[in-house]
């Protein structure tokens, strides 16, 4: 999927949505991240100008919080929960299996821009451990052997069906 061109107007609209308030900078960055799947440099400059804070402060925020990325992320973000409950139920091996299956390391994006692989710190679904999310879909009770089939659903052009059973 092609990376969206950064539009200054779009960023301004995000600033307006939050009343231009400095206290909502993190929220604005969240919206920028959702819009572009990363925090483009141009967006940081526009935010700085519109909100009236130094570029450095916004850059600091964009690099401090895990949710933000300065590099474009994939269409599907595979997040392997590595919270305690998932850890004792095999999350490290699930993470490895995802990396093997996608041919990338944690934090990387596949060349075609389809998948990004990430670790996430506890999604609070510990009753379903081990948990993997693909964008907003939550998959529970994941084991290494379920990984290939799970990822297959998101490969190719067809949109994944949410109704399919996980087990």
């Amino acid at each position: 999927m092609a990376i969206k061109q950064v539009s200054e107007e779009k960023v301004r609209e995000i600033v307006r949505r939050w009343g231009g308030r400095e206290g909502f900078l993190v929220e604005m960055l969240q919206d920028v991240q959702t819009e572009y799947r990363y925090i483009p440099e141009a967006a940081i400059r526009t935010l700085s100008k519109e909100v009236g804070v130094p570029v450095g402060q916004i850059y600091h925020l964009a690099t401090f919080f895990k949710r933000f990325s300065l590099k474009p992320r994939g269409e599907y973000v595979i997040s392997v929960c590595t919270g305690t409950a998932c850890h004792v139920k095999g999350a490290p091996r699930v993470l490895d299996a995802c990396a093997r299956e996608l041919g990338i390391s944690v934090g990387e994006t596949t060349k075609d821009g389809t998948f990004t692989l990430e670790e996430v710190r506890c999604l609070g679904c510990c009753g379903l451990a081990a948990v993997v999310t693909v964008n907003d879909d939550i998959h529970g009770h994941v084991t290494t052997s379920k990984v290939p089939r799970l990822l297959k659903r998101y490969k190719g052009t067809e949109k994944a069906s949410h109704g399919e059973a996980d087990d």
Binding site: E27, G90, R93, C122, G124, C126, G127, G163
Partner: protein
């Protein structure tokens, strides 16, 4: 027409991920098809806490509890139970120790032993309908507080109840509120903040409360605001909880529409409103000063707290910060009185606590019990014991700031002081159970790894010290440790605990110290080149024994073609090629793959 039956479909995050919403829609469609839509109501509820067996369906008033209900079960369920009045046994829950399924929710040990205060509306209301909350007595406490009590009386009531912060620290809530009232503010402005940045891995009670009963938090916040004289409140919710965010926002809108939030609340002249801020994935933002910095639009770095946030907090104003569960308790205390609340629990820990049971335990989920219940009752009676009938090894409480508790301390009553004495802490209430398949050194390293990547980097002991801890623990996991490493770990831990700026670093040594204190033999085994639990990769070898039937599954599962063998003949593993991913171990149905 009045509804004669109510189908309470659990729509917590856990059940939703198991397709509870599809189930709800299928139920509605089936009822409509049979012309029963007017006499049977389908209600979407919040989390019931028994996440391991979702999707969950409760039929009221019968009290029949169904588990793992699939869309395909709907026609049978409607025909048998709803039309003919014959509950469907095959969809009921059978507790681990029982032979027969248990039809009624209250008879299931997991639910029967609980006492619901913070979770009082669990599974009984639609969290997106304020009417459901009001019907169960919601906002009555607020009405009582605003019309019959002075702010001072409210604070006295909360103090007398003995309520302590449920987020981890356990600071007495009433005293916090009182200190804030007495703190100097030039223009009289005070703020109230709800911490919903539940970051402890293994804890999910705050998510569940917001998802299942958001108004209980709003009501608690408004009462708190009235008590301390705040007119602006904030809630900081982590972005990893999208459903909680959505439901809370809906609840805020409804409360404003009903005049329970905003200007002139309930016609009493009191003004208060709440603003939502989303976290962006930083564990340290659960720390009060870091959280406030983040609300102000700055990075979430803590500051030294020789002046507390109740004196100088958000935007340098006196600020009360409590967590979700604490606020959810407030309306009940106001309504039923401090005396009632203080009668529950132990001498210094009053009321109930919500725990999330996870890890290697049979019944995983969320439970609320009186303080002072023993860990053994929590894990074995409510949790149903160890999964796959394994052997209990340790329980970890309090998240990365807590510690491990071994078997001989299982009869410890759960309260703030007792857990602290054992080297752990209550924390937010995460309880992760471990059995012989968990390696204590590996789990200690896991927490240190977590804290290393979550350290904000502002102070040196935390940034560098935790990194050094991680290095030593990794060395031990790789079989390259020495006896001297253990002494070094202990020394480093005491320096980090003493000198870190905030609680993230200050409590970081707990998992390491308790694992050494109670499981020293595991460390020694690693130093001698063995991982008893078979977890640490450098120290284990996978082999195939003569139970192998040649089913060829491991051959297909192996990502590096390290398994050799023809179908129907015994297979072997080429050790040089093996990356110890465990795929063969996971797929083998004959116990033929061994770890040693």
């Amino acid at each position: 027409m009045p509804y004669r039956l109510h189908l309470m479909v659990c729509a917590g995050t856990g059940c939703v991920s198991n397709h509870a919403l599809e189930l709800r829609d299928a139920l509605s469609a089936e009822l409509a098809k049979r012309g029963l839509g007017k006499e049977i109501e389908v209600v979407t509820t919040g989390c019931n806490g028994f996440c391991g067996v979702g999707p969950i369906l409760l039929v009221q008033p019968d009290g029949i509890f169904y588990q793992k209900v699939q869309v395909k079960d709907v026609p049978l369920l409607v025909e048998e139970h709803l039309v003919k009045g014959r509950p469907v046994k095959s969809l009921m829950f059978t507790p681990p120790e029982a032979k027969e399924p248990v039809p009624k929710m209250r008879d299931i040990p997991f639910f029967g032993k609980q006492m619901l205060v913070a979770l009082r509306n669990r599974g009984m209301i639609d969290p997106e309908k304020i009417e459901d909350y009001i019907a169960r007595g919601g906002y009555q406490a607020l009405a009582k507080a605003l019309t019959t009590m002075t702010p001072k009386q409210i604070i006295e009531e909360i103090k007398a109840s003995g309520l302590r912060g449920r987020g981890g620290g356990g600071f007495p809530t009433g005293i916090k509120w009182e200190t804030c009232v007495h703190a100097h503010s030039d223009d009289g402005v005070r703020y109230l903040v709800c911490n919903a940045d539940e970051g402890d891995p293994g804890a999910f009670m705050d998510r569940s409360i917001i998802e299942g009963d958001p108004h209980s938090v709003i009501e608690g916040m408004v009462i708190g605001a009235y008590a301390i004289g705040a007119h602006q409140g904030y809630i900081y919710v982590r972005h990893e909880y999208p459903l909680a965010l959505r439901r809370f926002t809906i609840a805020l809108d409804q409360a404003r529409e009903y005049g329970l939030l905003g200007k002139d609340i309930l016609g009493t002249g009191f003004d208060f409103d709440i603003e939502v801020h989303r976290g962006a994935g930083a564990f340290v933002c659960g720390e009060s000063t870091a959280l406030m910095a983040s609300i102000e639009g700055r990075v979430g770095e803590p500051r030294a707290k020789y002046i507390h946030t109740v004196e100088v907090g958000l935007y340098n104003k006196p600020t009360v910060l409590n967590n979700v569960e604490t606020f959810a308790n407030v309306p009940v205390i106001i309504e039923r009185g401090a005396k009632w609340f203080a009668a529950i629990g132990t001498e210094h820990s009053k009321g109930t606590k919500v725990f999330s049971l996870a890890g290697r335990v049979k019944n995983t989920g969320l439970v609320e019990v009186p303080m002072g219940l023993s860990l053994r009752e929590l894990i074995f009676d409510i949790g149903g014991g160890i999964a796959d009938d394994g052997e209990f090894k340790a329980v970890q409480t309090g998240g990365p700031s807590g510690g491990f508790i071994p078997e001989d301390l299982l009869d410890l009553p759960v309260d703030y002081e007792k857990l602290y004495e054992a080297g752990s802490m209550m924390g937010s209430g995460g309880v992760v159970v471990m059995d012989e398949t968990s390696c204590m050194v590996d789990v200690a390293r896991f927490f240190v790894d977590f804290l290393q990547s979550e350290s904000c980097g502002k102070c040196t002991p935390c940034r560098e010290g935790i990194k050094a801890l991680h290095g030593i623990l990794s060395r031990i996991c790789d079989g390259k440790g020495s006896e001297a490493d253990l002494a070094m770990l202990e020394e480093l831990c005491s320096v980090i605990a003493d000198t870190s700026l905030c609680a993230l670093g200050g409590s970081a040594p707990n998992p390491v110290l308790t694992s050494i204190r109670y499981f020293r033999s595991e460390y020694e085994a690693h130093i001698q080149g063995k991982c008893p639990a078979g977890v640490c990769r450098a120290l284990i070898t996978f082999r195939i024994n003569d139970k192998c039937t040649g089913c060829h599954l491991c051959f297909k599962a192996c990502p590096t073609s390290a398994v050799l063998g023809e179908p129907k003949q015994m297979h072997t593993i080429i050790q040089e090629k093996c990356i110890k991913c465990g795929a063969c171990y996971d797929v083998c149905k004959f116990d033929a793959v061994t770890k040693e």
